[in-house]
Subunit: 407 residues, 2 copies
């Protein structure tokens, strides 16, 4: 069985890289901090005799040989990048739990039938380069390598430039290696397991999500002499849209409708200038694809109404759509058996967050393991999971991997 | 009579300094562009034999001697600083019309009884350093010199540092020289004169205005798995506040209530993060002080309600209050006589924008002259006034100044 203390130490050591003021992590994708986190992991894995391959979009593949190296590896992993003010567990736990499994096998001299592969996917968060999970998506064929390398951050730096600058532009063709199966451990990032006092989530799939970039163009004018009825206030129109969609989502008694406006920026803001142009981002989610279509249609109508109400022009671009995903029944059952073996309360559940498993599941049998996180909080410096839950999750991961690799 | 063509040429020459993409001006207070505009004006005035004095907050006083230099000067002027994407007339017209008056008197060899003074007030716009009209306010005793020099822009640069860096920190004690009277020509910055087809506004006073800095503190969390009812969304709460106050202002049939949210910033924004903290600015205006009190009380209640509705903490600081101002009856009448003499339609009116005259009027008899601007648009690169209206305004200014200076 895995060493929970050692896992915790590696989590805390990784958190030393890009620490934030309030105890969180800053390792935005392909920054110097992200690169330093990757180098630390590589050092740890190479000490165990693993070999590294890096593909053209910076995904890292760390292989632990098996008895049958002609067979596709059983893989695990997640991401090391974080939100601008992110936590110490989101993504990192999945990677370091994989490391802990490797260390445990190493200590016991265990060699699995199939090789094992620990994968670090690039830019999972989608905060620096939209969309999220872009490099696992490229691996799975959803995005072309060229389009991924060309994506730009808010400062106009491309993914390809950032990748080269931090030294992780590899040679491995994207899509290699093929995987026999993929298992990902992650914190839940929501409140369900904690509230229900369950220790493990057996993840059966992921809700659908759609991202939009919106521009509202009105007319800047003077805050003092301009009568209200003459205005074309882009911010007022954004506020109307946000308020209406919030109300709509909150009115859904099932709780399944989720609407978030994460970014909003006024062009050349000034206290006494009516905002002439506003750009904002919209994130719509639902576990049901039909309901998500209906939500998008409603969003379109509310945007048009908000623009009309304030005499503003609206342009909305759907920059990403990730459909509802259902994981592989065999992998789900493997996770469930491993959870049951621990004798702890668990539940089958859908994920509210996107994960690299979403795209990997298109090309390899996949499922995920969740553990609770405090107050359901993630994407926040205060994100926390207990050492016990981390160890438990890693044990379930270990058992599912071994079962599959020795099958 | 003044030379309208020459006035237009000097306006266009000034607009060459800090030109923006869409035909406007960028000369944010105490930037290199602002300094270059000032140097050009000084060169023009010194060629007419005027002498320059600069006070400790960077206000420029350009004197044209009179027959009785022991008497206080009759003054005119305005500001040369602009909004980040400002127009070519707001402030600049008032300064360059004063220059045109000086040039006309120079050409004719006219010497007035009292000396004349052309004044350029620092940081009128309030965009870089809040509040607006801070240097004329300091001149009039509303703000201490120390507090003004200590004010910081968004990058943490102080007014005093910026003033020294651009070479306009003078020696003249703030409050000197005393003025016999002050007349300021300005574009209306609103639609009334244009709509009513009137050529001149005889300005009787300025509406009251109050500025607030608001911080909304919620909790950042993941956009995907966090149920709507668990959220503490600072942006949703800001949107509610904006939408409610917009509706309130628009419902005032008199059109006298004005509410503007010019700045809004999310802390560490990311598409898939529920905004944890938002800062915004509020600008409330009304021509009636009692109604402005009522508006502020209502704003406080709406802020509390919006915070409560989204489980967010609100902190609001009133950073500026400029009460309703009534100008000097004698100066108003002088402007009205000069307008009537032109034989054009004019009206008495209140100003919706703050102007340096607001503070100067506390220490010297003051009034203002407005001319129409296209579509009532200001604080916008498209701001425009016709050469004919500019010339007419300058002529009215000239006549009012001469009447007062020779009285
Ligand atoms: N796990 C995680 O935070 N993923 C980011 C993608 C998303 O927005 O759901
Ligand atoms: N004239 C002008 O634009 N003044 C700025 C101060 C205000 O916000 O009214």
């Amino acid at each position: 069985s895995i060493d929970g203390q050692r896992l915790w130490s590696s989590l805390m050591a990784m958190a030393e890289i890009g620490p934030t003021e309030n105890g969180g992590s800053f390792r935005l994708a392909l920054t110097e901090e992200d690169a330093a986190g990757r180098r630390l992991l590589i050092e740890w894995c190479e000490a165990l005799g693993c070999t590294l391959r890096t593909d053209r979009v910076g995904n890292l593949f760390l292989r632990r040989p098996g008895k049958r190296d002609d067979l596709d590896p059983v893989a695990t992993g997640s991401h090391l990048d974080t939100q601008p003010k992110g936590g110490r567990f989101d993504g990192i736990l999945g990677v370091l739990a994989g490391l802990e499994v490797f260390r445990t096998l190493h200590d016991r001299g265990i060699v699995t039938e199939r090789p094992l592969e620990l994968v670090v996917w690039t830019n999972e968060e989608g905060s620096r380069f939209a969309p999220a999970m872009v490099a696992s998506g490229t691996y799975a064929g959803e995005f072309s390598v060229e389009s991924t390398l060309a994506r730009k951050d808010r400062d106009g730096v491309s993914f390809g430039e950032a990748l080269s600058a931090c030294g992780f532009a590899g040679e491995l063709p994207v899509g290699e290696p093929r995987l026999d199966a993929f298992f990902e451990l992650h914190i839940e990032q929501g409140p369900v397991l904690e509230e229900e006092q369950e220790a493990i989530g057996v993840v059966t799939g992921v809700q659908g999500m759609r991202w939009f970039d919106v521009t509202l163009r009105g007319q800047s004018a003077h805050a003092g002499p301009t009568p209200m009825r003459y205005r074309h206030d882009a911010l007022a129109s954004a506020a109307r849209l946000i308020d209406r969609l919030q109300a709509l989502a909150m009115a859904d008694g099932s709780g399944a409708t989720k609407v978030t406006f994460g970014c909003l920026e006024i062009d050349s803001p000034s206290r006494n200038v009516i905002p002439g142009e506003v750009r904002l981002s919209v994130d719509l989610r639902h576990v049901d694809e039909g309901e998500l279509d209906a939500l998008e249609a409603r969003y379109d109508r509310e945007l048009a109404a908000a623009a009309e109400a304030f005499g503003v022009e609206a342009a909305s671009e759907r920059i990403w759509a990730s459909p509802v995903v259902n994981f592989d029944a065999g992998c789900i059952e493997a996770v469930e058996r491993a959870a049951r073996a621990q004798g702890v309360p668990y539940r089958r559940m859908m994920s509210g967050a996107g994960h690299d498993s979403v795209y990997v599941s298109r090309v390899a049998p996949t499922s995920m393991i969740f553990i609770p996180c405090r107050d359901g909080i993630s994407h926040n410096e205060a994100e926390y999971a207990t050492p016990e839950h981390c160890a438990l999750g890693a044990q379930v991961l270990c058992d599912a991997l071994l079962e599959r690799a020795n099958r």
